[in-house]
Amino acid sequence: MTLYGKGLRALTLASIVTITVALVLVFFYAPLDADQGFVQKIFYLHVPLAIISLCGFVLGGLLAIGHLRTGDRIWDMRSYVAIHMALIFGIAGLISGSIWAKASWGHWWVWNEPTLVSFLIVLLLFATYQPLRFSIEDPERQARYASVFAITAGAFVPLNFIAVRLAQQFVHPRVLTLGGGNLPGSMRLTFFVSLIGIALLYATLWKYEMTAKNARMQTRRLRRRLMGEDAVRPLGRSAAPS
């Protein structure tokens, strides 16, 4: 039985340290943006969240490939947790992006920010993942179809990003360009530390949820063996793999 809790403490510690350092850098080290002022600080939160969320969705697709190739349902659970976590980070990214847009341009939503727009589309797609799982009763089929969806949607993410990017022809302060020539060195450092911090947080929460789910699954199995099939309460409204 794989123990997902192993290494969780080290990972958590690493996350806390990195995020704290990132916050210090954001508020005390990174220079004030000449154009957007203090508001630009949201950039260090919003962009890493968006990037890690998109990576999480692609990771979900990759883990789903593992499921379809091995047939072992644990991969499906890994894929489910990856997508679930990416969805949470994505919503946080969308909200922070919206707040940034309001503070920056005075509107709660802007169409001329391609990252934000393609992000909305990706979230709309992955929001159907759980309803899809929930509407298939047979657990084996549910896992298989969810994996097919995860792979298709994972392939969709980069393609969607490219298409939306090209569709937005507006000249506009592309503060959301990564690295490149736009960011001065100190900002770039702060950005990368923030990125690593959010990535570590994602990994920590992924492991955390895997540990909890694994523990629950093993407990149910134990209960089933000890007290028979009827003693195990059905999970009810759960789209998650059990």
Binding site: L68, I121, V122, L124, L125, T128, P131, L132, S135, I136, E137, R141, R144, Y145, S147, V148, F149, I151, T152, A153, A155, F156, L159, N160, I162, A163, V164, L166, A167
Partner: protein, 223 residues
């Protein structure tokens, strides 16, 4: 290959006998054009707006039609029969996608002239070739995604809902590329050739999802 042709022939024959899918899609498109006329409050449109209206209408008509693709298989045990036969399972993907493509092509034979008649301001004839090229690529993407999503949805409880809500976001890049490619085509006073950039993106979309669908379809058919 032969299996795919056999399944395709069966589907086409079924459609010719029952006229279930394509006339409904055509009627839906015509009604949608009328709705757009009132919704936009315009007598005629051109350029990007026209491209948008046409693309969106085709998109929704395709979602409607795709929902019917696997119903016969599901209700009459066609899946089991297919699985028992010693054939390449991807033949069903090819056959269904081809059927969907043909349905869309027939639909456009009706819908595009109707669109030109009802809403389009510039003359259609000089622009037809450019528009057809764009629509052909678009139909390919719609067929692939429609088949994939329909195959996923057919085994779920809320199959009429799951199909569109999963399919529409997946089709957004195709929609973007189609609308942006068709925009300059439908513009008055232009040569009527679609911009290469967007045609390339549409082709890329078709390739990527064609390959993805081909890779995963097998897993949808297992019992």
């Amino acid at each position: 290959m032969r299996t795919a042709l056999a399944v395709l022939r069966k589907d086409l024959r079924l459609e010719l006998r029952t006229f279930e899918t394509v006339p409904a899609m055509a009627l839906f498109s015509l009604t949608t054009f009328v709705i757009f006329h009132f919704g936009l409050n315009r007598a005629s449109i051109e350029g990007q707006l026209a491209a948008g209206v046409l693309t969106v209408t085709l998109l929704f008509a395709a979602m409607l039609g795709a929902g019917r693709l696997f119903v016969a298989e599901r209700e009459q045990g066609g899946f089991d029969a297919f699985l028992l036969a010693p054939v390449d399972r991807n033949a069903m993907l090819v056959a269904k996608a081809a059927a969907m493509f043909i349905f869309l092509a027939v639909l456009e034979l009706v819908a595009v002239p109707a669109f030109a008649l009802l809403l389009l301001r510039p003359a259609l004839w000089p622009r037809l070739l450019g528009l057809m090229a764009v629509l052909a690529l678009a139909d390919l993407g719609l067929a692939v995604i429609g088949t994939l999503v329909s195959a996923i949805a057919i085994h779920t409880r809320a199959r009429d809902l799951i199909g569109p809500i999963v399919g529409l976001p997946l089709l957004i890049p195709a929609l973007i590329a189609t609308a942006r490619a068709a925009g300059p085509v439908l513009q008055a006073h232009t040569s009527g050739s679609p911009p290469g950039k967007w045609v390339a993106i549409l082709a890329l979309y078709d390739c990527v999802f064609g390959l993805v669908a081909y890779a995963v379809f097998d897993f949808l058919l297992e019992e």
